[in-house]
């Protein structure tokens, strides 16, 4: 019924509208469509996809494109009238086809027929040959190490060497640093038709870097084969005002006090990128003067402070001034850019500082989920250090002003119970647990750092930590149990030592606070 109604309506419509159909497709120029192929010869391989492309235009409007190749079982009509609601006067042909795996022929010809709305046609032909190359060239040796130069270096040159191979032949190897306008193309072949080329090639060129441009620039090493298949590596060229130190320390004490500690002074700051550092620091007293030094023990040979003439810049000069932290009981975040010797500084309050443990856990309150079962029971949450187990910690005392800061005193030597006077201590930091369950939340030294640096990374092993840790904490954290270890120190003089531990910073330091009464 529905069909018959439709047919009736259609016939009626066709009868009534028959005259208007012609008027829709009135000729404009009556010319055949114009057709320009991107290439008339496509080189491909059996089992691979190739793409036929070209530009088509017709002022009357394009009706369809037919691609015909009986050997490839290809008879495709792209009917633009069906595909588009509006008449297409220009069309970018781009049609991909895959040569069947079982193909045995070496070449085909695809006939392309363009038909416009007036029924006029234009034909073209694309030759498809089975001599393509879909194998990328390969680097046999790469150049991926960053080039780091201080602009004052006497030698601003660098030698770049890399090698490549290709199954069918190489066209060229190239080094490209667009921002420094350095581009060196090493042609491998002299064949203008690119039919032949060596299958192996080595690029070895020395470049001279400018001294008037500071920054970090991308360098590309590129290998291109005869069929324009290319592979690219990249690295950075860094031209800076100082060297990129592996480690940089924040010194908040005069040079002569740098070695008064057992560990933790000066404080290691974060090396976040090439010549980029970030320091977070709790400033207890207003007016603290700080410097940044690459050498833990001394202000020489380099001590980075504020520029004497421009306080917003850094300086390595002897007259560099300390950076003064003016706000007491405040956390500071200082970002250093040693490429151009600039820095920025911001403060955030104790309240805004993030705890490493879960929000519901409060030091000194029964907020620790003792059996990881939703609080049956909740037990007292306290942290401390221990050389045995979480059931036997020496609890840290919370600083009266800064709840993120804890301390504990320990007197050396101490007895091990067997009349041995111990002058060293091997410890980890953990929450307390009556049954000695491990790793709810704890802190360890990273194996990759020296113990003198006083960095303590947060670790948890309970339920992937989501129950005990604050996922927003971005201080030192370790997830791999094999990357952490207990830390050890030894004191040479008897006395009472105080260990300060800032849980927000993940930094600790051990200072002698009194001589031994013995």
């Amino acid at each position: 019924m529905r069909k018959s109604l439709f047919c009736t309506a259609f016939l009626a419509g066709a009868f009534l509208c028959g005259c208007t159909e012609e008027s829709v497709y009135t000729d404009v120029d009556g010319q055949n469509p114009s057709f320009e192929l991107t290439t008339e010869h496509i080189r491909t391989l059996t089992g691979y996809e190739f793409t036929m492309s070209g530009k088509i235009s017709d002022k009357d409007g394009i009706s369809s494109i037919n691609l015909y190749c009986p050997e490839l079982y290809l008879d495709k009509t792209i009917n633009l009238v069906e595909l588009y609601s509006e008449i297409q006067y220009e069309y970018d042909l781009s049609y991909s086809f895959t040569i069947p795996e079982e193909n045995k022929c070496e070449s085909f010809k695809v006939k392309v027929t363009i038909t416009d709305l007036g029924g006029r046609t234009t034909e073209g032909e694309i030759l498809i040959t089975m001599d393509g190359d879909y194998t990328l060239p390969e680097f046999t040796s790469r150049y991926t190490t960053d080039i780091k130069k201080v602009y004052t270096d006497a030698d601003m040159t660098a030698t770049v060497e890399f090698s490549a191979t290709d199954n069918k032949g190489l066209q060229y190897l190239e080094l490209d640093i667009p921002e420094l306008e350095i581009n060196i193309k090493d042609n491998c072949t002299t064949d203008p038709e690119l039919k032949e080329g060596p299958t192996e090639w080595t690029f070895n060129q020395t470049i001279t870097l400018p001294t008037d441009k500071l920054g970090k620039f991308k360098m590309y090493t590129r290998t291109v084969d005869l069929l324009n298949n290319e592979v690219v590596d990249s690295c950075n060229v860094i031209i800076s005002m100082v060297y990129d130190y592996d480690k940089l320390y924040l010194a908040d004490v005069p040079e002569n006090k740098l070695n008064d500690d057992i560990f933790g002074v000066p404080m290691l700051i974060d090396h976040i990128d090439v010549n980029q550092y970030r320091a977070r620091y709790y400033n207890k007293d207003a007016g603290t003067e700080i410097y940044f030094i690459p050498n833990r023990d001394s202000f020489s040979p380099v001590c980075i402070g504020a520029d004497n003439s421009n306080n917003s810049k850094l300086s390595l000069a002897e007259d560099a001034q300390p950076i003064v932290l003016t706000e007491a009981n405040m956390y500071y975040e200082i970002n250093l850019n040693l490429i151009d010797l600039t820095y920025s500084m911001r403060t955030y309050s104790i309240d805004d500082a993030c705890y490493p443990w879960a929000d519901n856990m409060k030091i000194g309150e029964e907020t620790l989920d003792q059996w990881a079962n939703g609080g049956n029971p909740w037990t007292m949450f306290k942290i401390g250090w221990s050389n045995t187990s979480p059931s036997n910690i020496q609890e840290f005392t919370k600083d009266e002003t800064n709840p993120h800061l804890f301390y504990v005193d320990k007197t050396f030597p101490f007895s091990d119970g067997n009349n041995h006077n111990i002058m060293d201590f091997n410890f980890f930091i953990s929450n307390y647990h009556s049954n000695g369950w491990w790793d709810f939340i704890s802190w360890y030294k990273l194996k990759s750092l020296d113990r003198e640096e006083g960095v303590f990374a947060r670790f948890t092993n309970a339920g992937n930590g989501t129950r005990y840790i604050n996922p927003n904490y971005d201080g030192p954290t370790v997830y791999d149990p094999d990357a952490k270890e207990w830390t050890w120190f030894q004191v040479s003089q008897p006395g009472t030592y105080r260990f300060y531990f800032d849980v927000h910073l993940g930094r600790g330091k051990l200072l002698k606070i009194a001589d031994s009464n013995n």
Partner: protein
């Protein structure tokens, strides 16, 4: 002088009158049974002269003036006046007064003359229903009323799906059935159609609004036969015959083997085949014959009697209906009875009662047609005897090459039966203190008690066809509903032109369900003596619940007509339901209708075209409350929780459902315009109607916001958020005529309705899952129950066609396609074949429904034919998958040749493939969609009434009828009608259900 002349004339007249007196004699018979009327009064009009008819219905009346008028009368028959005109013999056939019912139509809480109807109400006489032998009288109504869509499967005891004028809600489509004033739910299986006097279908809201909250799907009023004053009359009706199903033509073992292996070979795979190789055509198991009967018995008997006097009337009947399933097990039988009596105490008070007890019994009919068709024919029914065990259910064979369960074994294990006892009682009293003022009070009780038992034995055929522990279950379910209806009706005619009928009423209804279910596992043996729950030894389970709902209603109606030309009817019902909370508990359902009898106007008096022309229009609001009794409240249910490192389970509770305290009724607003016409001395009658129903506040379940934390599986809540529309037209044309001994009638009714979901819960409702997808998508703004899938665009005939089936830029649309696979259309031309390329590929509801009814009688022979059909509906024929052999299942005979096996060999059935990597059969696509239009001959019946000279005092009629003898359709599945059943949002999917069988019956009617 003048005085003398006058006296002379008078004398002459007296002499003449005396001289013209004659003796008149004759026989009076009844028109219904052609039997002599005993005790009928024959009287000379205007005199006291008269007599009564004798035992043979004969009479003789002397001294009757030649120009006298004789008045024939008796209780229960129309009084007839006959002019003598000098005749000495006057034989008369008296018409039963019951035929006046032709002129009276039952409406909600009252009756009205058919000619005075202002609403869309169709009336069908009981005798038109009784001719079809069926377990449910609604099946007999199919095709007889326009706008009524009835679909059914052939399963014994199944309830047909009845839709009146389309679908306006997703919450059930069944109309409300009211038997003798008592609402009885949505199944009238308990009625013997021989006991039905008439059925009225209230189609529009102006008629059904008087039933308020439950009238949104229309109302069907059923009036059972009542006693009539007069001598006691007996009637016996019997019909018996058999049913048969057309056997599907499935492959035999050799073709199965060939197709099975070819599926692998076509995919370049080694066949994994476990049966004997190279079997011949004669071998193999015919699973259809092993599972099904060739013929199934159906029989129906009814004995009734009725009679009465001017003080009391009575009527009673007892009936039996039995129907075997077409399977080798399964049947349904029912024993029904009806007692009806009315006593007239005086001119003011009368009382009566209808009492309808019943007993039904089911031995459940299996659902194994799919298995019988798809079971591997290389598998024998039983294992080799050497492998038999003590458990007889272990001795059946497991399919060698598929996962289809052995249907014969399934039947052997099936042990499920139900017994149901029911009683419908409707006592009433009627008081008419003043002429025209009637108070009627009726109490109705409808109670049913069902007991179901099921035993499933322990068995093991293999690890994928087994039951580790036997289980016995018992379910007891009781329904007890009562209804108290009180109405006060006042009818009065003023100045012979103003006819007024006022009705007011108050009703109370309560619906109660009680159920208890228990089960136990591991019965020690499968012995029939132990098929009881108590015999189980492990895992005792029990559950039970009481459910209640109630309604209180106030109703009123005014009917007025002026000089039977201008009619107006208005009604209102106020319903209060327990399903809603205080603020939304009550709702008002008003309705109004107008009619103009154009032929009653003066300017139509002299025209000879129309015998009747009436224009009607109506509007009304009805409601629907088909939701859970407790939908307004949140509930908690038993739930297990898992705690601790050992994942221990603990019994607890969880949110079971989310209540909505703001729930209110669904409301359906309905408009109806109609015209009734009669021509050619009322031989041709035509009724045409247009209607539109739109629901508001349709109740739908909607997900709550996840932020509220409700469990996802129970987090839905009923809300009044939907809207639907059903719009359509109906046309009914009937012709009646008589030429001498030949009388005939022909009726055609057509109806069309479009069901549209205007607003749902914001997202489409998907139904009918299929291979991880859904077949049907009900979407806002679209017709409901439409199939939604990919467009199958024929088959790839060669590699060139596959290569051409790409996107604009050569994107491969069907990477796994091979010649012989289905080409699916990339409708959005984006170069990817995905969900965005799906579209509506078929509609389950028809564009047009057709009913054709014809009958003729010549002398003692009568013949009738009924046809019913639908046009423009589609069926999603999943059985087309029987061409695939997927999973090692059996295929249609000739599947290999039907399936593509070379260029040009098929354009529809795809190639055989074991992997179906192109997803020919796995996708929801138009490949499965077929035109489901059909025209079915519902019944052909021929009868012969023996001459009364042979049968003396009784009337004897024999008949032969064929039900569903043929169907005209293009549909390739077993039954387009059975495929059209299902809930309104999931219709039209053919899962190989039980088709409607052909039935051949001999009938006998005796009246005396």
């Amino acid at each position: 002088m003048r005085r003398q002349i006058l006296i002379t004339c008078l004398l002459l007249l007296a002499v003449c009158g005396y001289a013209q007196q004659i003796t008149v004699s004759g026989v009076v018979t009844s028109n219904s049974d052609k039997l002599p009327m005993i005790g009928a009064t024959v009287q000379v009009k205007g005199t006291t002269t008269g007599t009564i008819t004798g035992l043979d219905g004969d009479y003789m009346l002397a001294n009757v003036p030649k120009d006298a008028v004789l008045v024939f009368s008796t209780i229960g028959f129309e009084t007839v006046e006959v002019s003598v005109n000098g005749r000495t013999t006057i034989n008369l056939v008296m018409k039963e007064a019951t035929e006046l019912l032709d002129e009276v139509v039952v409406i909600g809480y009252g009756v009205v003359k058919k000619g005075d109807l202002t609403s869309s109400i169709a009336a069908v006489k009981g005798e038109d229903l009784a001719s079809l032998s069926t377990g449910n009288a609604m099946n007999a109504l199919q095709g007889k009323v326009s706008g009524l869509q009835i679909s059914n499967s052939g399963t014994p005891g199944s309830t047909p799906r009845v839709i009146i004028r389309g679908v306006s809600t997703v919450n059930g489509s069944n109309p409300l059935y009211v038997v003798d004033g008592m609402p009885v739910g949505d199944n009238i299986n308990f009625l013997d159609q021989n006991d039905i006097e008439s059925m009225q279908v209230l189609k529009d809201a102006s008629a059904s609004a008087i039933y308020g909250t439950r009238g949104s799907n229309g109302v069907i009023l059923i009036t059972t036969k009542k006693g009539k004053a007069g001598a006691t009359k007996f009637s016996f009706t019997a019909s018996a015959g058999f049913q048969t199903l057309e056997k599907p033509n499935m492959a035999k073992a050799s073709e199965y083997e060939y197709v099975f292996k070819q599926r692998y070979l076509n995919d370049s795979s080694e066949p994994v085949y476990y049966s004997k190789d190279n079997i011949t055509d004669a071998e193999g198991t015919d699973w259809w014959d092993a599972t099904m009967r060739k013929t199934a018995l159906i029989h129906n008997y009814n004995l009734s009697f009725s009679g009465g006097s001017d003080k009391y009337t009575y009527s009673a009947s007892i009936g039996y209906f039995g129907q075997d399933s077409q399977y080798k097990i399964g049947n349904w039988q029912k024993l029904t009875a009806r007692f009806s009596m009315e006593y007239k105490f005086n001119d003011v008070v009368k009382a009566g009662m209808d009492f309808t007890p019943k007993y039904e019994q089911w031995n459940d009919t299996p659902n194994l047609i799919g298995s019988a068709m798809t079971m591997d024919p290389t598998t024998p029914i039983m294992r080799d005897q050497s492998e038999w065990t003590d458990n007889e259910f272990d001795n059946y064979s497991r399919s060698h090459n598929s996962q289809v369960w052995n249907p014969v074994a399934s039947m052997a294990r099936m042990n499920k039966s139900s017994d149901e006892y029911g009683l419908l009682a409707t006592p009433y009293i009627s008081i008419e203190p003043v002429k025209g003022l009637i108070f009627r009070s009726q109490f109705g009780l409808n109670a049913r008690f069902r007991l179901s038992d099921e035993f499933t034995p322990e068995f093991f055929l293999d690890n994928l066809e087994k039951l580790d522990y036997s289980i016995a279950k018992r379910n007891m379910k009781n329904w007890v509903d009562w209804n108290w209806t009180n109405t006060l009706t006042w009818m009065k005619t003023f100045n012979q032109k103003h006819n007024l009928n006022l009705m007011g009423g108050y009703t109370m209804e309560r619906f109660q369900t009680y159920w208890l279910e228990g089960s136990k596992e591991r019965i020690p043996t499968n012995d029939e003596l132990l098929h009881y729950v108590s015999a189980g030894t492990q895992n005792p389970q029990a559950s039970g619940l009481n459910e209640y709902s109630s309604l209180i209603s106030y109703l009123g109606r005014v009917m007025y007509n002026f000089n039977e030309k201008y009619y107006v009817t208005a009604s209102v019902r106020v319903d209060g339901s327990s399903k809603f909370l205080k603020d939304n508990k009550y709702a008002v359902f008003p309705a109004a209708s107008l009619a103009w009898r154009v032929t009653g106007e003066e300017f139509m008096k002299n025209q000879h075209i129309f015998d009747n022309l009436k224009i009607r229009g109506g509007w009304g609001r009805v409601g629907n409350q088909s939701i859970d009794n407790s939908a307004y409240q949140s509930t908690i249910s038993a739930a297990d929780y898992v705690f601790g490192p050992n994942s221990d389970r603990f019994i607890g509770t969880a949110v079971g459902s989310i209540g909505n305290s703001l729930l209110r009724w669904e409301t359906v607003e309905d408009y109806n315009i109609g015209v009734d016409m009669a021509f050619l001395n009322n031989r041709l009658s035509i009724t045409a109607e247009w209607f539109r129903k739109q629901s508001h506040d349709m109740l739908l379940k909607k997900d709550n916001m996840l932020i509220l934390g409700y469990p996802m599986w129970n987090g839905q809540m009923w809300e009044n958020i939907g809207e639907m529309e059903a719009k359509g037209w109906e046309l009914s044309v009937n012709w009646n005529d008589k030429k001498g001994d030949f009388s005939y009638n022909v009726g055609v009714n057509l109806s069309s309705v479009k069901n549209t979901a205007i607003k749902l819960n914001g997202a489409p409702i998907y139904t009918q899952s299929f291979n991880g997808d859904y077949i049907i998508r009900n979407e806002e703004g679209c017709e409901i129950s439409q199939f939604y899938g990919y467009v199958a665009d024929g088959l790839f005939q060669n590699q060139t066609e596959i290569n051409a089936h790409t996107g604009e830029h050569g994107e491969i649309l069907q990477p796994n396609a091979q010649p012989g696979d289905i080409r699916f259309k990339d409708l959005n031309n984006d170069g990817v074949l995905d969900d965005k390329d799906k579209t509506y590929i078929g509609a389950a509801f028809p564009d047009l429904m057709v009913g054709i009814n014809a009958g003729f009688s010549w002398k003692n022979i009568d013949f009738m034919a009924n046809f019913y059909g639908t046009i423009g509906n589609d069926v999603y024929n999943t059985t087309k998958g029987r061409y695939s052999g997927a999973g090692g299942e059996n295929v249609y005979a000739g599947a290999y040749n039907a399936a593509w096996h070379g260029e040009g060999t098929s354009y529809d059935i795809p190639r055989l493939s074991v992997n179906d990597a192109n997803m020919n059969y796995k996708r929801v696509s138009s490949f499965y969609v077929e035109d489901g239009s059909y025209l079915r001959c519902k019944q052909l019946q021929i009868g012969y009434t023996f001459p009364k000279e042979w049968t003396k005092v009784c009337k004897l009629r024999l008949s032969f009828s064929a039900q569903n003898p043929f169907t005209i359709t293009k549909y390739s599945g077993m039954d387009p009608e059975a495929a059209s059943t299902g809930a309104v949002t999931e219709s039209g999917v053919d899962w190989a259900g039980y088709p409607n069988p052909r039935t051949y019956l001999f009938g006998l009617n005796i009246n005396f």
